[in-house]
Subunit: 339 residues, 2 copies
DNA sequence: CTGAAAGCGCTTACAG
DNA sequence: CTGAAAGCGCTTACAG
């Protein structure tokens, strides 16, 4: 925190009777500098307390920030609470480390200031974590002339979407889970940014603002045909404990098969089923998405996907690489929680 | 991702026959510009596809980045796995939001490239998450002439340490937990960056490289007097599940009171005790640190502290505020897991 | 192996 | 209400 005068390359150059650019070379291409010059420059730098090239000036000159911005549509605390969001960010961070890139977190809450904060980040590209179709930040980010990766959607011009085919995976998962069931039900992610937990009956997927959720619901509906009476419980967050109440409310409708939109939500259903003494899968079939480490242990039927890999893909896009060739991989992994 | 030519303020100025600085005023102090001029400038900007002031150029000119860097001594995935680290980061993020500041994550792994990554972050100040005394990144960060907050220590010249008095809190917690105990034991955070889990007997605190861990151990020793035979199990990470094995190893030594260095580790002990049919606190007294949401539910005796508040303090320091007046607050909260 | 010059895109007092 | 000038600290071809 020593707030010494700022020492610049020019100061160092002056001190040892050399040009500023030679000092620059000492830091950027030391091989091109005579050993004796290098030594003198380093000595002068040490004497003056020069701290090395200023990263901001360097970024301006190189027209390259060496950093990507990750736009989160939530308070950080919530984002980190979600195990899949964490896996995703870990994937992003891995690419950043490999490429020596920085990682700027930009939590947004829907406030007007979000726009300025997003615009004023000194980054070369952006990753937007799943958001609603109408999120105003989306258009702003895409209008910045920098590469943008959107995880999970929505699809917008100027951005690449990374994620699995949610509708197809839902179709297949519903086929497995609802096979032989007479009273299917769904435990769903939030429909909208308000995240109001509730129990609905046969809600229209069109009313769902989060594309991932909407597509999964559509996939489930594809399979089901008549969905007029389908109980759909909507949670506030992707959290096992937090979802306990809605899982209970859902089981109150006495379903015999539940598709939940994540492992965490599926566990919430299993927890609730356990409290009621229901046998799984005999009385109740349950399935989810993600296939995190706990899913295998619990024998959970789930859609296997790698948020880590998707995080990597997003980071590569934000860094300006050509996009990954294919959609993100997924597969339905059938275990013992379904019949 | 439209990679249009870059449009600058000068282009906009030229386009509508105005000086570049007037354009600048339109973005920074629109009140000082004649309404008609403002209109024309905005029109020209729209026509040209000008995206607003470049954040990097602005930062260079203003000598202010509007961002703080958070140095994590681990892969992101691990850092996020720790509930207290998440609370801490949430506190940091809250201040960032209030102040319109950016938040740059800088995970370090001990590699040589860490140094460059830390130096090349365009930030106004740094927060260093608890690290070992000898972490080379520490000296680098402190030599940058920017404010530095270190959470938990080590104390180094040029940085402010934020955290509780670990030794005093340990002394008090040990007094509560070991009261009437004949075979005390400790479940400890890692001693060193290698994070090798192991069971030791009366290890010297001086050998512990993480200051938080060292001070807590010292506080416990203060209370104990003779520690020659004290079983101390060391975990790899602050994670309830991960710590299960070492908790078991510790209970194999048949202690009747365990001080664990966090709620998570205390839960690991309670889990292990449950598996053995031990009664708490009759057969085994257990206590921890943090007082997270689960602690109250479990009736855990623990050291109450707010990592969120400490994250806020660190962020304020990194932003250049005078430091918080006092040390971080803590108190021993006695519940039912101790006698 | 080293230097002179230009310029990255912007903002800041200072005049007028 | 608007402009001319300087400069934030650095790097990049290009000469020599």
């Amino acid at each position: 925190m020593s707030r010494a005068e700022r020492v610049t390359m020019a100061d160092v150059a002056r001190r040892c009777g050399v040009s500023a650019m030679t000092v620059s070379y000492c830091y950027n291409q030391p091989d091109r500098v005579a050993p004796e010059t290098l030594r003198r420059v380093r000595e002068a730098a040490a004497e003056l307390g020069y701290r090395g090239p200023d990263p901001t000036a360097r970024s301006l000159r190189r027209r390259h920030n060496g950093a990507i911005g990750v736009v989160l549509g939530e308070h950080l605390a919530y984002a980190f609470e979600d195990p899949q969001a964490r896996r995703f960010l870990a994937g992003v961070a891995e690419v950043c480390r490999e490429r020596g890139s920085g990682l700027n977190l930009i939590p947004t809450t829907g406030a007007a200031e979000d726009i300025e904060r997003v615009k004023s980040a000194s980054v070369d590209g952006y990753i937007v974590w799943t958001t609603v179709d109408t999120d105003p930040v989306l258009a702003v980010v895409c209008g910045l002339g920098k590469p943008v990766a959107v995880h999970g959607g929505p699809a917008v011009p100027g951005a690449r979407v990374v994620g699995i085919d949610n509708r197809a995976s839902a179709r297949e998962l519903a086929a497995r889970t609802f096979a032989g069931a007479r009273r299917p039900a769904v435990l769903s992610f939030p429909f909208d940014r308000d995240r109001r937990p509730r129990l609905e009956t046969g809600p229209s997927p069109d009313a769902v603002a989060f594309p991932v959720t909407r597509e999964r619901l559509r996939g489930i509906y594809d399979r089901l045909g008549d969905t007029g009476g389908l109980p759909v419980a909507v949670v506030a967050r992707n959290d096992r404990e937090d979802a306990a109440k809605m899982a209970d409310a859902l089981l109150d409708t006495e379903p015999d098969a539940v598709v939940a939109m994540s492992d965490q939500l599926a566990f919430a259903v299993l927890d609730a089923a356990g409290r009621r003494g229901l046998r799984v899968p005999e009385d109740l079939a349950v399935a989810g998405w993600d296939d995190g480490p706990d899913a295998e242990r619990a024998g959970l039927t789930t859609v296997t996907q790698s948020l880590f890999a998707q995080g990597r893909d997003c980071a590569l896009i934000a860094l300006g690489d050509r996009a990954p060739k294919t959609e993100a991989a997924w597969q339905a992994t059938v275990r013992t929680t379904t019949r």
